[in-house]
């Protein structure tokens, strides 16, 4: 059972480039989330989804887009990368809004 898998683990982007951070889970969880963690800070919610076809903004959605076409996948798209998006990105999933959230191992993104 792989749990939550994020790819890639590391990436360096140039300013203005775009990329997609992949997240997939094999636990049949309804809820999925994207967080970013800046140095010395806590995790901030970017986007979340409560089921396939449903997404909503979190605390810091600007500069990002998501889609949820299947239960398993919740990709995060960065358009026109900026240095302010340098961070560690975590994907998570949970069965419901009252159960434990399981996290991926994180993606370390640097924008130069």
């Amino acid at each position: 059972n792989a749990g939550v898998t994020q790819t890639p683990k590391f990436r360096i982007l140039k300013i203005g480039q775009s990329m997609t951070l992949q997240c997939t889970q094999d636990m049949n969880h309804n809820y999925m989330y994207w967080y970013r963690q800046d140095p010395g800070m806590g995790l901030k919610l970017i986007y979340y989804s409560v089921g396939a076809g449903i997404t909503d903004k979190g605390e810091v959605p600007n500069g990002y887009n998501v889609s949820r076409s299947t239960t398993e996948d919740f990709p995060l798209r960065l358009e026109l990368a900026a240095p302010s998006q340098t961070s560690v990105y975590f994907c998570a999933s949970s069965y419901s809004d009252r159960t434990e959230a399981f996290f991926g191992q994180g993606t370390r993104l640097t924008v130069v």
Partner: protein, 108 residues
Amino acid sequence: AQRVTQPEKLLSVFKGAPVELKCNYSYSGSPELFWYVQYSRQRLQLLLRHISRESIKGFTADLNKGETSFHLKKPFAQEEDSAMYYCARGQGAQKLVFGQGTRLTINP
């Protein structure tokens, strides 16, 4: 906005000493509170949640609504407890709001 505050970024104690990691939250209704832990080179994982009232790896956390606190405690720290600890609050649809985290170091 809901807030979770962990006032200590770094905490260092000696092995065998008691440890307390502080967490305060902004008040609103009936909170769901959690402690997550990230050991070196491992992913973030749930340590405990207030509704379960469990003791996990010797850690306990009591919700104090009067003080809006959810401090994490362990009477005798062990070296393997060294990790990053995050307090988090659920606010519907498991939209977890995290504190800044506390890096706990247990000295031998």
